[in-house]
Symmetry: C2
Subunit: 327 residues, 2 copies
């Protein structure tokens, strides 16, 4: 980096580097003090045209880039400790950078996850933001994808499917037409796509009670299959129990969208976890105190088959695909 890059960093990013280990972004590296904890490391990138739309507001792009990583930390039971940022830009455009840095800074404060360092590079291609986020857990206490046991409840936070419908609305799809008269519902769903609500408030409860957990980023069905695969188990899901927002429930009832889109759409950034039956009540209570809605949607069962989703009559739903794939 040099002149133009330096002034960009000083102007927009240095104010976010509030941790002493960031050294005000004037050094080549940051220091993370573990203080006896394990450092949990996760990395997720967002690419213009793939993970966000070119016309998305810059502050929501920043928030999404950070929040998809915060969501991983939450599912692993970790408290946020900081992040590093790689920003690939076509040019240093103040009109884009100012709201981007403002949104990023607001979320860094909101989630207690300060900027520790980064790299700013030019690209002739799409904007790309890659974030590596750090969290802390007491030694040996990270929650894994593996560990789910037959008899555990399958529990999910928040609501599922909103973000996939929000993307459909922003792209002018069938959901946009169906909700032409309901600006508030369109806005809510688009907002769920643009600005996920990571469940960091639930991290301690997940750590205290879950046998296994994953964040739902690529689709409920696919991410459940990953959790089950890593745990060597299967699961049976009662599809009508899957928590839906009013807008998504209405679109499902009208037939605008099928349940298979809802469970495989991705971008939910909710926590999916396996809670042993004897901890379920305590988990629900802890979630209530954390202000996070949780819903039991099925059971972990023995076996190695792909998890089954049953409709209200107990018939298995056909899911043509489980989740989003980049390749």
């Amino acid at each position: 980096m040099s002149s133009g890059e330096d002034s960009l960093i000083v102007r927009y990013l240095k104010p976010l580097a509030t941790d002493p280990g960031a050294f005000g972004l004037v050094d080549d590296a940051a220091v993370l003090k573990a203080a006896g904890d394990d450092i949990v490391v996760t990395t997720d990138a967002v690419v213009e045209g793939v993970h966000f739309l070119p016309q998305d507001p810059p502050d929501t792009i920043a928030r999404k880039a950070l929040r998809v990583n915060l969501s991983d930390l939450a599912a692993k039971g970790a408290a946020p400790a900081g992040f590093v940022l790689t920003l690939a830009l076509r040019d240093a455009d103040d009109a884009w950078l100012e709201p981007f840095a403002r949104g990023l800074g607001e979320d860094a404060r909101l989630f207690g996850c300060p900027l520790l360092g980064g790299d700013t590079v030019s690209t002739p291609g799409p904007l790309m933001i890659s974030i590596t986020a750090f969290g802390r857990v007491p030694a040996g206490r990270m929650v894994h994808r593996s560990g789910a046991k037959p008899g555990d409840r399958v529990v999910v936070t928040g609501t599922i499917g909103d973000a996939a419908l929000g993307l459909g609305i922003l792209k002018g799809g069938a959901a946009a037409t169906a909700l032409a008269g309901d600006a508030a519902a369109r806005e809510m769903l688009a907002g769920r796509y643009r600005v996920p609500q990571p469940r960091n408030a639930l991290a301690k409860a997940v750590r205290d009670h879950a046998h296994a957990a994953i964040d739902v980023s690529d689709g409920l069905a696919g991410d459940l299959a990953k959790l089950c695969g890593a745990s060597g188990v299967s699961a049976v899901i009662d599809a009508p129990s899957i928590p839906l927002s009013a807008a998504t429930a209405a679109l499902l009832a009208r037939g605008t969208v099928g349940i298979e889109t809802i469970v495989s759409g991705g971008d939910d950034y909710e926590i999916l976890c396996a809670i042993p039956e004897d901890s379920f009540e305590a988990f629900v209570q802890a979630a209530g105190q954390a202000g996070v809605a949780v819903t039991s949607i099925g059971m972990v069962v023995a076996g190695s088959s792909v998890p089954r989703f049953l409709d209200g009559e107990g018939a298995e739903l056909a899911l043509p695909r489980l989740s989003y794939s980049h390749f």
Copy 2:
């Protein structure tokens, strides 16, 4: 991620995830155990057409992406502990991925820096590889850019300018013409551009002896100015003392390249450090044991002006630019 992405990760990247904290890349996050040390964090991205050329061999692209980060760890006095990788690809091309992963794996082993996790995303644009690397130092012992004191020697490892000339050769510039009859020299210089030689073997000596250090990534002149700026000092450099390879020295002697290109070209990935006079002999001895050539090229002086580069007659060189800037 999903199917195509999963198989890409299992096939090419999982073999690199040798650290127990990587959990074989089957989880959403890795665990880094600090064990009382400070964790040093650095991040650097390389973009096709900006940091490497589209026709560069995939294994050298991988090595460069990792080594530019290892170079930062070396300059901070840190021992490599692992890295996470964000890979933005246009498609999952085995003919490219196989040598890329092989080169990355060889360097991960060579430098003791295993893959801990990552994200693989599709992009319609140029290839981009963003790496966040982790190192360990005893608590409070990271070497900073700040800390250089008047009277310290300015010391640099290896040779300067080769990579900038190597890039010129790969682009068919004047150096290519001048070295038309010397394939070995062309190869050596291009190799210095494509595969930097990070000085991790010197990390402990830097930690034990340097008041301040930085790796030379954007150009000797610019990076020295940054070290001096952070330290609140200036420096005087004896340009004829700057260590050059035989090929670079010959091109300088013939007038194919000027000294200003050599000191501002960048991509050297050598360590530049300030060594107090009374530690210099011990530092040279430690460097000899580590097998890293070090050269004293000038002195830190009081003041706040941009460091001065003097020619053999003591006249100040005019440097139109200090280093590479992305914007």
